[in-house]
């Protein structure tokens, strides 16, 4: 029910167009890349899906994060613009259910995007590498892995958006975080486990390093931790409101 309500609130806010736009842009990227430089990639050695992911995922992950940032900001802007959140706070629902509803909604949107993106990558691989036999489980595994790696980013971004009443502040923080993470040196494993950084990792590279359990575990823990953080934040805010 809480999910239905949160979805309803997004009416006429531009949330759905933003998701569609980001999904289209991210999916168009590998297709364009192949149309322009197919020979470069077909000449490479390795699994076609991994070649394509390696070539395109940086950009696609960035677009996914932009969607997460914009989505979180839009959803909380709707709450703060006319103070709708105050009305929600005096209705008999448990603290944090509004936040949780928004989290699930954003994750569902992201889920759709990731499925479309991995499907397009698989499609490109099948089209430009005729010898490639693709499997459903491979595509799904990749999408699922990316989803879990993006969860901490979603949670953290929603917390930022819920803490800043001014949408431009949270938008700015989100963009700065993406930017800072891309310019930080990428050689330390600890840094790579930070939110806004994990989404760039692909299943193939992490598998190659044997770090799959590490990444999944840490991302899961980060997600839970940021969720609890929001819960504590909501309790503390009552003292200063």
């Amino acid at each position: 029910m809480i999910l239905q309500i949160e979805a309803k609130k997004c009416k006429r806010t531009g949330f759905l167009p933003a998701v569609l736009l980001a999904a289209c842009a991210a999916s168009a990227f590998p297709i364009l890349n192949m149309l322009v430089r197919a020979e470069t990639f077909t000449a490479m050695a390795g699994t076609p899906f991994d070649i394509l992911t390696d070539a395109n995922w940086q950009m696609m992950a960035m677009l996914n994060m932009v969607l997460v940032i914009c989505g979180a900001c839009l959803m909380y802007h709707t709450e703060f613009a006319d103070n709708g959140i105050q009305k929600m706070d005096v209705l008999p629902v448990r603290a944090g259910s509004l936040f949780f509803g928004k989290f699930v909604l954003l994750v569902l949107a992201l889920c759709g995007m990731l499925l479309l993106e991995t499907a397009v990558l698989t499609g490109c691989a099948a089209h430009w590498f005729p010898a490639y036999t693709w499997t459903f489980s491979e595509t799904l595994q990749s999408a699922g892995f990316q989803l879990i790696l993006t969860l901490p980013t979603v949670m953290l971004m929603l917390w930022v958006a819920s803490a800043c009443k001014n949408m431009w502040v949270s938008l700015g923080i989100g963009v700065i975080l993406v930017f800072v993470m891309t310019i930080l040196p990428q050689d330390s494993t600890v840094l790579q486990l930070f939110p806004f950084n994990t989404p760039y990792k692909t299943l193939a590279t992490v598998q190659g390093a044997g770090d799959v359990p590490l990444f999944l575990g840490i991302c899961g823990a980060e997600t839970v931790a940021f969720g609890l953080f929001e819960f504590v934040f909501l309790q503390i805010r009552r003292w200063y409101a």
């Binding site: 006319d82 103070n83 709708g84 005096v90 009552r238």
Partner: protein, 251 residues
């Protein structure tokens, strides 16, 4: 029986005390007018009742339930409107109420009823951000009244309404306890307004309660303390003035 009761309720922001040692007694089935000048702490007190802000010390019970343990149970019984109308500008008036209706688990008809009660039926399909100030205020009231809650907490509900609207809302508030035995806590700056709506009056200044009782009690007290007038508004102003002078001397 007291529907809302507070014991030495305090709220401090840093070293500024917005509400101090408040002991309110709001009886069931009556309209309680909460009166005070700007910054007296009326909204702050109401926000504490609704769990929007935590008391610094002291406690309160609403229908025998304690905050914070029974926060959700309290909110189930309270319809509220605090300071300014709170709504979703991107949704229509009807959609706004529909969200509240779903959360409260009310029957579908309650949205129509609430819209009719505040006279918004005609504009129910319009986006709330395109409402006029008075229409927004009415939408806020509809959100408080929907589902006929047993307790109503209304912070300056007639703010921004036209004279006809003010009269309508006053009459509505006045009639609610008789209609379905609810308890109303309503705040205002104007004693003349409170006098028309309320059975009991509480006067607040700088976070402290100066008076609690009926309008008649207030007149008797004014006579006993030698205020020269019978006009309630003037008594109110004289009381506030006197309290401010005492505070000035105390500092």
């Amino acid at each position: 029986m007291n529907m809302i009761e507070t014991q030495n309720l305090c709220k401090a922001y840093g070293d500024f005390t917005a509400v101090s040692d408040l002991n309110l007694h709001i009886q069931k089935g009556r309209v309680y007018g909460f009166l005070g000048p700007n910054g007296a702490g009326k909204s702050t007190t109401m926000k504490m009742f609704l769990g929007l802000t935590n008391p610094t010390s002291g406690s309160f019970q609403i229908d025998g339930k304690h905050y914070p343990a029974d926060r959700v149970a309290i909110l189930k019984e309270v319809g509220s409107f605090i300071e300014a109308p709170a709504f979703y500008g991107n949704l229509s008036g009807e959609e706004n109420l529909e969200i509240i209706r779903r959360i409260l688990g009310l029957p579908k008809s309650s949205v129509r009823e609430a819209l009719e009660l505040v006279g918004l039926t005609q504009f129910r399909k319009r986006a709330a951000k395109k409402y006029s100030l008075g229409m927004k205020q009415r939408l806020g009231l509809a959100g408080a009244l929907i589902g006929r809650p047993p307790i109503l907490i209304l912070d300056e509900p007639t703010n921004g309404l036209d004279p006809v609207g003010i009269h309508e809302i006053r009459t509505l508030i006045r009639s609610l306890p008789k209609q379905y035995d609810c308890t109303v806590l309503v705040s205002s700056h104007l004693l003349s307004e409170v006098e028309l709506m309320a059975d009991d009056i509480g006067i607040l200044n700088h976070g402290r309660l100066l008076f609690e009782g009926t309008a008649n009690d207030l007149k008797i007290r004014a006579r006993d303390e030698g205020y020269p007038t019978d006009n309630l508004e003037e008594i109110f102003l004289a009381m506030i003035d006197e309290d401010n002078r005492k505070r000035g001397a105390g500092q």
